[in-house]
Symmetry: C2
């Protein structure tokens, strides 16, 4: 007898140049996403780096610029913890009217354990001058943007307070291994609780400024534009919205009558998840889901609900998360032209037969 | 300098038990789908087969039942050719109202070179009796269906004329190699021009009958049910509908002004593709696409259109194929409750900036 072959999930491909592929979030049970299934989101081609001559520079509005090797960094105090990284465009495909850009479904999100040196330690070593406003982090990846005629590196700034937050780190390990190249090797900024555009990969240099940085990845992209035709009242994408995703059953599944476990994840960028609820009547009544795995650090919560599906028919199942800041998933998403921050109540349809 | 890592497309995962994964059709340029990217569609778990004791039996309404080893089959005259296999549920996710079942996008389709013994040679060897109506082909895969309380093998019948068609083969090779296990090793029925539910994998036996076979995979599933609530006027799924898919650009892509190649495939289950047209004005006017690769055998046609996108703005791009039977893709799909045979004009939206 031949052994039955294993079946495994794969990343979902959106684009290869630059590489954009999604985590098969509906097929993961574990609390950590191993790196082959970690979603890949790039603005540009992968950069070429020289590792034999890699130095991290902290410069700009500081008393004494610092140049560190990876070995230097490894000697410094470190922090380690579970962090959810979610692309600001996660669930973009669900907006109506539809918006242009990568049509991410629900898997532009992953979590895992990141380890690195708190950015504040490096900033303190360089001596940030009084009046510093932002910390600019530049990646090695660069190219021409489709909407601008110049070449740009992928660069973003953090407000000085966020840069000094003790959990904002210059990471060198993911899941107890050096960071995989596609996720930022050798060094990646990790900004917990913000959408992942803030977590700059392949760090080239860190520059303190006494001004506001207005590069395209925070003045053109990663801005919420509430109107289709004008840029008025635009504002920047920062914290992750409170959110949840049903992993099982799958949308449009056909099930037997009997007990089914409805399972999923919930996460937030402010405080912690306090409650996840399920509805079988389009949101008229809500039932409490159980926690399956407690959150650690800035990770997500796994939840489940044992559903006795006794009656044949079609069902809508919804999930809704609440966080400790009192934020709750809305019935309708906040539509914005570039499709960021989708966090409407999650919803699937199933048929019991 | 480190070499930039390659990026490759993967199958898209819908389910692991049974395994249903889709070909990343938008990321393929080649005329043949290599087996790691060949879509996988199963009703049941993969079967366990004994290869050391594998015999193909042709029995039933015949003069003399025949039992053949694989070695016996390899001695017989063979046929080889390019064949499109398309799941009847390909593009199911595009129906509105939505239908239950696997939400295939546009990649439950593949093509490659199949080689095997014409079924008619085996039928002639067994001596089909006068009055034979159908040939039943049973696979080794079996399980309980969600909607029926019995265990069934995956079994379907062919009308006697289709079974005797010289291009209906008992295949033992795919792309010049033994058939990959997940695609039916050691023997798979290949029925060109029919949706792929007809091409039974892991053949266990072939039985000639003088009656109509009414197993669940041709009386419950793989029937077109035009009405949501009744089974009236249902009719079986057989030939592939005339169809086309735009592979490039991707839906909701953002492009530069300039020349872009619109590229895709077109195929049919009756005759050959005679024309592929493109529209940029929602179907008011149609422009002729060029053939990129000519079809061979029962393969698809690759086509392209050089599009000069000079003006910024949002565009709808449509593709429409016509076959030698005068069949043409309709503006609206033929809605049916189980979501088979979707073949409406293909359509994507892009933004030029």
């Amino acid at each position: 007898m031949r052994k039955k072959p294993a079946s495994k999930p794969y990343l979902r491909t959106y684009r290869l140049q630059p590489e954009n592929q999604e985590t098969p979030i509906h097929f993961l049970q574990a609390d950590t996403v191993n790196h082959p299934l970690f979603y890949r989101r790039n603005h540009f081609s992968y950069p070429s780096l020289s590792y034999s001559n890699y130095w991290l520079s902290i410069n700009g509005f500081v008393a004494k610029p610092v140049l560190l090797s990876i070995q230097d960094l490894l000697q410094l105090p470190s922090k380690k913890g579970q962090v959810v990284l979610e692309c600001a465009g996660n669930k973009r495909s669900l907006f109506h009217p539809k918006v242009f850009g990568e049509q991410w479904e629900k898997g532009a999100i992953s979590q895992g354990v990141w380890k690195g040196v708190p950015l504040r330690i490096l900033l303190e070593a360089a001596g940030v001058k009084k009046g510093a406003k932002e910390v600019v982090v530049e990646g090695y990846d660069y190219e021409k943007k489709t909407d601008l005629d110049e070449v740009h590196t992928y660069t973003r700034s953090l407000p000085i307070e966020k840069a000094f937050h003790p959990d904002t780190i210059i990471a060198y390990e993911y899941n107890h291994q050096p960071i995989p190249f596609k996720h930022g090797y050798p060094l990646r900024l990790i900004v917990p609780q913000w959408y992942a555009m803030a977590s700059v990969k392949w760090i080239k240099q860190i520059t303190v400024i006494d001004d506001h940085y207005a590069g395209p990845f925070q003045s053109v992209d990663y801005m919420y534009y509430p109107h289709k035709e004008t840029n008025k009242v635009a504002f920047p994408v920062t914290h992750i919205n409170v959110n949840s995703t049903i992993q099982k059953p799958l949308n449009m599944d056909i099930l037997n009558t009997g007990t089914h476990v409805v399972r999923g994840i919930a996460w937030t960028g402010k405080g912690v998840i306090t409650k996840v609820e399920i509805s079988f009547d389009r949101g008229q009544t809500w039932l409490m889901a159980q926690k399956e795995l407690a959150r650690t650090g800035y990770g997500w919560v796994s939840w489940l609900y044992e559903w006795k599906a006794e009656k044949k028919g079609e069902y809508t199942i919804m999930s809704r998360a609440v966080d400790s800041y009192g934020r709750i998933q809305p019935a309708a998403p906040f539509w914005n032209r570039k499709g960021y921050g989708y966090n409407a109540i999650d919803q699937i349809e199933v048929k019991v037969e």
